[in-house]
């Protein structure tokens, strides 16, 4: 089973796309966890937090969906973690989008649409392939 990449590995992606992520309000948080961990108390979660117009990667224990403390939570299966891990030193953003589209990465939203829009999430979620505007299929 592939481990969740460490915060320092994610930081490169966040800095590479600083213009995109710079639209988020300070305090916005995006979490990433492994599907294998969501029912395991104390499992790790990487959190990207907007600070001073920049996303900074850190980690904290995953406390469950109810108390996750993030606005958006990406939960990936093992295939997702493997692919992401292989691409983080390159440009992993298209990989994230592909994985969301394929269903290997589930993008949970823990805030309402209006709140996410106000906080600057529209472009970020769009770039990750999320049907942000309530698209019906």
């Amino acid at each position: 089973m592939t481990a969740l990449p460490s915060p320092s590995r994610w930081q490169g992606l966040l800095d590479r796309h600083s213009t995109l992520f710079g639209e988020l309000d300070d305090g916005c948080r995006i979490g990433i966890a492994r599907r294998a961990d969501v029912n395991r108390p104390g499992a790790a979660m990487v959190v990207w937090e907007a600070v001073g117009g920049r996303l900074v990667a850190g980690d904290r224990p995953f406390p469950g969906y109810r108390d996750a403390g993030v606005d958006v939570l990406l939960v990936g299966d093992d295939e997702a973690m493997t692919e992401i891990s292989g691409e983080l030193e390159g440009d992993a953003l298209p990989v994230l989008k592909r994985l969301v589209r394929r269903g290997n990465l589930v993008c949970y939203v823990l805030k309402r649409q209006c709140e996410l829009l106000d906080a600057g999430y529209e472009d970020v979620l769009q770039s990750m392939g999320v049907a942000f505007a309530g698209a019906c299929r």
């Binding site: 029912n39 505007a133 309530g134």
Partner: protein, 656 residues
């Protein structure tokens, strides 16, 4: 006397029995869509009743009325104007609906719809078996349902079933798909409980079994239908496998449910289920499996199966017992009658645009791209009535707006002649249909419909005939009315400076086969026209790049379809430069300032412009003092799309 189509589609039109009752044919009208035509507090309106009269007259053997929520709190309410059935005060209109259906020889079924994960639209939260967050941000944060609430919910469903029968319905239906409450208990994706309602499939199915049992006990002499997914399309996210879906069907059957309606997908599933990109018949195997598993339980099915001939064959092959159909009857409520009369070429086909669903989730009343009268049945202005004064009408432009206007006006007794400079009916739709990645035949069926019905109504169509002031002078006083349905054109004045000798082709012209791209292609405009053409060229292995001024592609694409285009662009590897301003076009290619403010040159052998578009309304001004009435129509008013074109044409045809 047997009508010719009934003889051809013998099985479809053959009577049968269900739950001890005679059913006139093998067609079940499915409760596919809540209409949003009603009041905010759940009462059925005259608009709804007028619409339901049309449904009652479709000729279906079984008709399911749209889902009503059963709880006074509104946790089951998903849609802005969903009807309610939690109190007897709502019953008078339900009685009218049941009576309408039965007066037309149908069996009346009332769907009880608790929307679960998609519910609580007025409350700010939804209830689910477990707290699993939403993936679509327009839904509400979940709360975990308690055991007391489970018992209360089951009681409310049973009471709603009793009310349905009291109102005159013959039976009821509950639904476990789309992420509604029942589906959330059944699915591993949303049910992570550790009590007797969660964990194993046996436990996850407990809520369903208790619900079925409660309704059967409350209404023992009336059939209960349950809609269950044959495939959730959520398995990648940890949802049920197909095998688990069929085990749940077995559980429902063992509980004595009277019919299973096999469905596909969840609202939020990462795969398409009923859109235009799914080929008709794709999901039939699920129904076949259900029928093999449960040979003694009537099975209804119709997901992405819009064709009566295919349905008849499936019935003969034992794939299902009832063809469950909804959207094709939204598009053409007379479809079944036309099929019975062997007039399938006069059917307006559902093209799977999902305009209906898109509007629902924006709290709007549903409409249909193909049926401009849908939802307006209560308004006399939308009726096709004999014209008080019969007129000679010239329609300029044989695209959807012009043809819709022509056919509508002809039905009212006007004499109509359509002129078009091109060699076939269709206008810009020809280009779209010829290049559509999803289902070209659906779009081409629109053109075939216009061709067929124009002939039947005696509408003369003069192709290869351009209309201009010179022609109008020759035809002075021949026509009382001119409808200018000349669509939109490329606004070349808005293009960047173009070096002499460099040609920029119009995307619609290329799409319609009037212009051949070669080499490296750059398309200016990443809206629906540019995208459709780019995707088509890319599938022919051409080197295509899209330039779009907006920061996102697909700006003018219907909300339900944006994701499809952006996915195709990714899958086909079509480079796109968004947030870009084209500043010059020369022999090198297209010079742009991209979204980051960097100047770039996109090398091009062929440059195609899909935007900006402006209404082609020159003839409106040219004919103003030459003809009694001049009316612009469709994109000639302002460029929009197929649905607006058909709406405009119909309304104008009703009004002239």
């Amino acid at each position: 006397m047997t009508r010719p189509g009934e003889a051809k589609l013998k099985t479809l039109f053959s009577p049968t029995t269900f739950a001890g009752r005679q059913i006139k044919n093998r067609v079940k009208y499915g409760a596919c869509c809540v209409s949003n035509y009603n009041t905010r507090d759940g009462f059925i309106t005259p608009r709804e009743l007028a619409r339901t009269k049309v449904i009652a007259e479709t000729g279906c053997g079984i008709i399911t009325n749209q889902g009503a929520y059963p709880d006074p709190l509104g946790e089951g309410k998903a849609y802005f104007r969903q009807v309610a059935i939690f109190d007897d005060k709502f019953l008078p209109q339900f009685e009218m609906i049941a009576r309408m259906i039965k007066d037309n020889g149908g069996m009346a079924i009332q769907q009880i719809l608790h929307a679960g994960r998609y519910g609580g639209i007025d409350l700010g939260y939804c209830i689910q078996p477990s707290i699993v967050p939403q993936t679509l941000p327009h839904f509400r944060a979940p709360r975990e349902i308690t055991k007391d609430q489970i018992r209360q919910t089951i009681k409310e469903h049973a009471e709603a079933a009793v009310r349905s029968i009291k109102a005159g319905f013959d039976g009821t239906e509950i639904t476990s798909f789309m992420g509604y409450l029942l589906a959330t208990f059944n699915s591993r994706f949303t049910n992570q409980r550790t009590d007797e309602y969660g964990g194993s499939l046996e436990n996850r199915g407990r809520f369903m079994r208790e619900l079925i049992d409660a309704i059967k006990q409350a209404t023992p002499d009336h059939p209960l239908i349950v809609r269950l997914n044959g495939a959730e399309l959520m398995d990648k996210w940890g949802g049920n496998s197909e095998d688990e879906c069929f085990e749940l069907m077995q559980q429902a059957a063992d509980c004595g449910v009277d019919m299973i309606s096999v469905t596909v997908g969840w609202q939020e599933a990462p795969e398409s289920s009923i859109g235009r990109d799914i080929q008709p018949g794709h999901w039939n195997y699920l129904s076949e499996r259900a029928k093999k598993l449960l040979p003694n339980v009537p099975i209804a099915f119709g997901q992405r199966l819009p064709n009566p001939a295919m349905a008849d064959q499936c019935l003969q092959d034992g794939i299902f017992d009832f063809w469950e159909v909804c959207r094709p009857l939204l598009a053409d409520p007379k479809m079944l009658h036309k099929a019975a009369e062997d007039r399938m070429d006069e059917v307006r086909r559902c093209v799977g645009s999902l305009n209906c669903l898109s509007r629902l989730f924006r709290d709007l009343p549903y409409t249909c791209t193909m049926n401009p009268a849908l939802g307006h049945e209560v308004e006399p202005e939308y009726s096709i009535t004999p014209a008080a004064v019969k007129k000679n009408i010239m329609v300029v432009g044989a695209g959807p707006a012009g043809m819709e206007c022509a056919l509508t006006a002809a039905q009212r007794g006007h004499t109509v002649t359509v002129y078009d400079k091109n060699d076939r009916i269709g206008g810009a739709l020809v280009g779209y249909a010829s290049n559509d990645m999803a289902n070209r035949d659906d779009m081409l069926s629109v053109l075939r419909y216009y061709e067929t019905v124009a002939k039947r109504l005696g509408v003369e169509v003069k192709l290869n005939t351009a209309v201009d002031p010179k022609l109008m002078r020759e035809l002075l006083h021949v026509y009382d009315v001119v409808v200018v349905a000349t669509g939109a054109r490329l606004d070349r004045a808005q293009l960047p400076p173009i070096e002499d000798g460099v040609e920029v082709l119009a995307a619609v012209e290329v799409a319609c086969g009037r212009g051949t791209p070669s080499g490296r292609v750059v398309i200016l405009g990443g809206g629906k026209v540019g995208l459709t053409l780019a995707e088509s060229l890319a599938t022919q292995k051409m080197d295509v790049t899209i330039v779009e001024a907006d920061k996102r592609l697909a700006g003018d694409v219907m909300p339900s379809w944006k994701w499809r285009h952006t996915a195709w662009v990714d899958e086909l590897g079509i480079p796109s430069v968004t947030g870009a301003k084209a500043i010059k076009i020369d022999r090198e290619g297209v010079h742009v300032i991209d979204g980051k403010g960097v100047a770039r040159v996109l090398p091009a052998d062929t440059i195609i412009a899909a935007s900006p578009a402006v209404p082609a309304q020159d003839l409106v001004h040219a004919f103003e003092w030459m003809v009694d009435e001049v009316h612009p129509c469709g994109d000639a008013i302002t460029p929009r799309g197929l649905g607006a074109a058909i709406q405009d044409g119909y309304r104008l045809g009703c009004r002239i």
